[in-house]
């Protein structure tokens, strides 16, 4: 009886956030197989700790677990050396100019081609960001979370969230513009 209730509570809390959780896992791990492992791991962890969860924000709580599972998995797969874009440090709000030239898309085949190229580009550029910058952008732009929620999920002060977002955006904008000019 109590068991049924607890199972129902768990599903009520977690089910609405499985897509957001998978999106984060998928962007952090950068392939579907590892993202699946992370999801399996996260669900087991969430079950283990759910009895102690008293917060008002199950999405943030579950995304934090997913993130920790993803980082644990990356740490275990340390052999994996990742190609990353150069990035500054968290304390550096410093700045080259943000600038990105978007193709002016109409409806003709040529612009459709340009669009698919730009889709590949932004996905590739995002994937090349260091994970702490990538997760900030994914949580802000794709999940549309507030600084406070991102700060909770990544266990990072809000000031650091702000400077990571800035660095991520600056890198994306500058890299995209550099590639456009080539």
């Amino acid at each position: 009886m109590a068991e049924r209730d607890a199972e129902r509570d768990f599903k009520t809390a977690i089910l609405p956030h499985l897509d957001a959780a998978y999106n984060l896992a998928r962007w952090l791990m950068r392939n579907p197989e590892d993202a699946e492992d992370v999801m399996q791991d996260a669900v087991v962890r969430a079950l283990t700790y759910f009895a102690g969860f008293r917060g008002a924000n199950p999405r943030g709580w579950f995304l934090q677990i997913v993130r920790n599972a993803a980082y644990a998995s990356m740490k275990v797969n340390q052999g994996l050396r990742l190609v990353q874009l150069a990035s500054g440090t968290d304390d550096e709000p410093g700045f080259g100019t943000l600038g990105i030239e978007l193709a002016d898309t109409g409806d003709d085949p040529e612009s459709a081609l340009l669009k698919s190229r730009s889709q590949q580009n932004i996905e590739r550029l995002l994937a090349a960001l260091p994970p702490e910058l990538r997760e900030a952008i994914v949580l802000r732009e794709l999940e549309e979370l507030s600084y406070k929620e991102i700060s909770q999920i990544t266990e990072t002060p809000i000031g650091t969230v702000m400077s990571r977002l800035w660095r991520a955006r600056r890198l994306l904008a500058e890299t995209a513009r550099r590639e456009d000019m080539q």
Binding site: D19, D41, V44, N68, Q119, I137, M162
Partner: protein, 242 residues
């Protein structure tokens, strides 16, 4: 290029809807006079449009959703025992099983031990007290726990004491001792328990090895990515050392 302005993080915060009305009004007034902030706002908007239009928002595949919910074993992660309904039942039944089967550890505990180990591998989480000296690790726990965990130096056997940490497991604070062997870490979790002494029992989870035993009114769980033989040897040395 001198294109910078001290208000750029405020521009970003306004763009992200994080400023209150007064801050926002002040920023808008500044931006009307500042070419750098105007250009930054445009660039932020262009980048947002591009990301939201073109970067995929990955949706949980239907088959994975079904596996997570129904708990059918999955090929690649079958050893995880990720069966949701099974794990729910097991975790929830754990407290009951303590009474029904007092000599069997609740299945949820090995998972909790492994989770504790994985958590400790996060940067900066491994040790609260860093010391290779058992005589400084042991007193560190005084006043932090309601029991005094045994701390042993196994350096001569090739297991270097690296430090200790508090963790929370089995609904109580526990001691975690960290040992290193080459690049591998061992977490030894210790907490008091009224159960009778028991010999070692080996378990494996997610490619990690666990050894559990019971001695002198304490429960011990060792977990590591070491080979099973080596972790067994660690447990044997620990139990022999007096």
């Amino acid at each position: 290029m001198i294109e910078s302005c001290e208000n750029l993080l405020l521009v970003q915060a306004e763009f992200d809807g994080e400023l209150d009305a007064a801050q926002s009004a002040a920023l808008v007034a500044h931006r009307a006079q500042c070419l750098v902030c105007q250009k930054a706002t445009q660039a932020l908007q262009r980048l947002r449009t591009e990301i939201r239009c073109d970067a995929p928002h990955h949706r949980l595949p239907a088959d994975l959703r079904a596996r997570l919910l129904r708990g059918r074993p999955v090929s690649r992660a079958a050893w995880r025992g990720g069966a949701l309904s099974f794990v729910v039942g097991a975790a929830l039944a754990a407290s009951v099983m303590l009474f029904v089967l007092p000599t069997v550890q609740p299945p949820g505990l090995a998972d909790a031990v492994l989770a504790g180990h994985l958590r400790s591998l996060q940067p900066g989480h491994l040790e609260d007290v860093v010391s290779t000296d058992q005589h400084s690790v042991k007193p560190w726990f005084d006043g932090r726990l309601d029991f005094a965990p045994p701390v042993k130096d196994l350096a001569a056997e090739g297991f270097l004491l690296e430090g200790g940490r508090l963790d929370y497991m089995n609904e109580r604070p526990v001691a975690a001792l960290v040992y290193g062997r080459a690049l591998h870490k061992i977490n030894l979790f210790v907490w008091p328990s009224a159960e009778p002494d028991r010999a070692t029992e080996d378990l494996a989870r997610n490619g990690y090895n666990l050894v559990h035993w019971q001695a002198g009114g304490m429960t011990f769980w060792a977990v590591s990515d070491l080979e099973k033989d080596e972790l067994d040897s660690f447990a044997r040395q620990w139990r022999q050392e007096s």
